[in-house]
């Protein structure tokens, strides 16, 4: 059995996290992991909702060392939580004070409350080199990430320890991140990008993670300024744009990382100039995890992470090698560099047509349409992508719906139960019928014409 350690830090007094201005040592972390692992209820599947990134990391590690599987659905709406419970009837959730403060900590699952006080570790304080770090079986399934299946049922993608560790070590190697770095994220750890780049990469490169999840530009800058250098900001085009627009002075940063949506050259140039740091983008998909990176200001070409390569076979591009366990077909529109069938550099021309990505949250049109049409009173309905995709701005979805008995407010509330708020349509247009053709498809020109015609019942928001 091959194993890899839970964390890569070399001694017990190394700093593995910053909570506010207070460092957290590896000794304290391992003690908390052991304590929390011993308190968890019997279920094997876990929805980790901790809002404090350090506590999220302890809870995740406690699940890993006790053989539990973390569930990562794309959203936490009541309908998605019900679907998780159908898939894993023993699932429970872990919440901390930060999660309770934010949204009542609430999903409808048995709940384990992260302990507010944990006794100090019993390890001998003088013996800092005897780290006794847990070794985890590379084959162990530590997470299941869910994508929106076209039938409305979320599809699980299994994440094994060995593959996850190799992928974040490759990421750290590419970015030059090591034990001296401190890493702040503006993205939640409950989705793949945040899990990989703000939790697992620090753990596996010996770096320190920041426990916060700052939201406002001023909070992000304050948290950055408090971290020792070299420091890394893990963010998205949407947060970057807000930071640059809102702040006149920015704290120095040593490395910027962006993902979830394409970044424009202009924004990348401004970010590099004003933060004084190189900006890298990460590209990946749920099936493979992270695959490639690029320094956006250096040009549009992506370079695969160490040992990963792409191979063309007919119309399909396969990713293989490195941390990818078995060759995996990619659904995005990719052009390999060079003439051969195998390459480590490529251009990304677009995401798979059905995929919807808004502010880092992903779903598919098929899933959204399925959820819309499952609402009692909806006779027909369809979601449409934003007409133009301007980089760095958030485009919203539109929906056309035939639901004569429902008010816009009733329909919006029913959708809110089922889909993430970022996908709620605006505008939501009520129509008498959808002009489906003989095969049941909607000709795109006709839907665009419907959108262009003012609808007497049109309504986006109805104040309560």
């Amino acid at each position: 059995m091959s194993t890899l350690p839970l964390i890569a830090h070399r001694h017990l007094d190394a700093v593995m996290a910053w909570r506010g201005n207070a460092p957290v040592s590896v000794r304290q972390f391992l003690g908390e992991v052991e304590h929390v692992a011993g308190q968890l209820p019997p279920g094997r599947h876990v929805l980790n909702l901790c809002g404090d990134r350090y506590r999220f990391t302890v809870a995740l590690a406690a699940c890993i060392v006790s053989g539990r599987i973390s569930l990562l659905p794309s959203t936490h709406t009541p309908e998605m939580v019900r679907q998780m419970q159908r898939i894993a009837p023993d699932a429970f959730c872990i919440v901390d004070q930060a999660a309770v403060d934010k949204d009542g900590g609430g999903v409808d699952l048995p709940t384990f409350r992260y302990p507010e006080s944990i006794p100090p570790s019993a390890a001998d304080p003088a013996d800092v080199s005897n780290i006794n770090c847990p070794e985890i079986d590379c084959e162990q399934v530590v997470a299941q990430v869910f994508t929106s299946g076209s039938t409305g049922v979320p599809l699980p993608h299994v994440k094994r320890w060995g593959s996850l560790v190799r992928s974040v070590r490759a990421e750290a190697e590419r970015l030059g991140i090591g034990a001296e770095h401190a890493i702040l994220g503006t993205v939640p750890p409950q989705h793949m990008y945040g899990l990989e780049s703000t939790v697992l990469m620090p753990l596996q490169s010996g770096a320190a993670l920041h426990a916060g999840h700052p939201f406002y530009p001023a909070d992000i800058c304050a948290a950055l300024a408090n971290l020792p250098r070299p420091r890394v900001l893990v963010t998205t085009p949407y947060h970057l744009r807000a930071l640059l627009a809102d702040q006149t002075t920015l704290p120095a940063v040593d490395q910027l990382l962006s993902a979830t949506a394409p970044l424009s050259q202009d924004l990348a140039n401004e970010a590099e100039a004003r933060f004084g740091a190189p900006l890298h983008e990460i590209y990946g998909c749920t099936e493979t995890g992270q695959l490639a990176s690029r320094r956006t200001t250096a040009g549009p070409e992506w370079r695969t992470l160490p040992n990963v390569r792409l191979r063309r076979d007919g119309q399909t591009i396969w990713a293989e090698g490195g941390h990818i366990e078995s060759p995996t077909g990619l659904t995005d529109v990719i052009e390999l560099s060079g003439d051969g069938p195998v390459s480590t550099t490529f251009l990304l021309h677009g995401r798979h047509a059905d995929l919807v990505n808004i502010a880092g949250k992903r779903t598919s049109l098929a899933y959204l349409n399925q959820q819309l049409n499952a609402i009692p009173g909806v006779q027909d309905g369809v979601f449409l992508l934003p007409r133009e995709d301007s980089p760095d701005r958030i485009g919203r979805l539109t929906a056309l719906v035939v639901a004569p008995g429902l008010s816009p407010a009733e329909l919006t509330q029913a959708l809110r139960e089922r889909i993430d708020p970022v996908f709620l349509p605006r505008p939501l247009l009520f129509v008498d019928a959808l002009p489906r053709n003989a095969t049941g498809k909607l000709p795109s020109q006709i839907t665009q014409d419907l959108l262009a015609t003012p609808q007497p019942q049109a309504s986006t928001r109805v104040p309560a």
């Binding site: 939201f215 406002y216 808004i358 708020p421 970022v422 104040p463 309560a464």
Partner: protein, 89 residues
């Protein structure tokens, strides 16, 4: 509510509608209805947009750690009170 605050409240409502391209008139935003979730239906992307406009327009930056973010955005009236107490222009 004092008249000055009512005026400010109308101004804030206009700013929200224009910043977010909402399909309603500013008068339709009820002063005490939630801005988040049910009610007006804003999400965190919208809140960040509003925060940028507030900072530009009223000369102060919203912070999550000096006041409860959720309570500031609990209604148009509470956002208006927060702006009235913190504005520098």
């Amino acid at each position: 509510m004092p008249e000055a605050n009512l005026e400010l409240q109308n101004e804030v409502a206009r700013l929200i509608v224009s910043a977010l391209n909402l399909d309603i008139s500013p008068e339709e935003i009820q002063a005490d209805a939630p801005l988040y979730g049910e009610g007006l239906g804003l999400d965190s992307i919208d809140i960040l947009e509003v925060a940028l406009v507030v900072s530009k327009h009223f000369g102060f930056q919203l912070r999550a750690d000096n006041a409860d973010n959720v309570s500031i955005f609990s209604s148009l009236a509470s956002l208006t009170r927060h702006i009235a107490a913190n504005r520098t222009k």
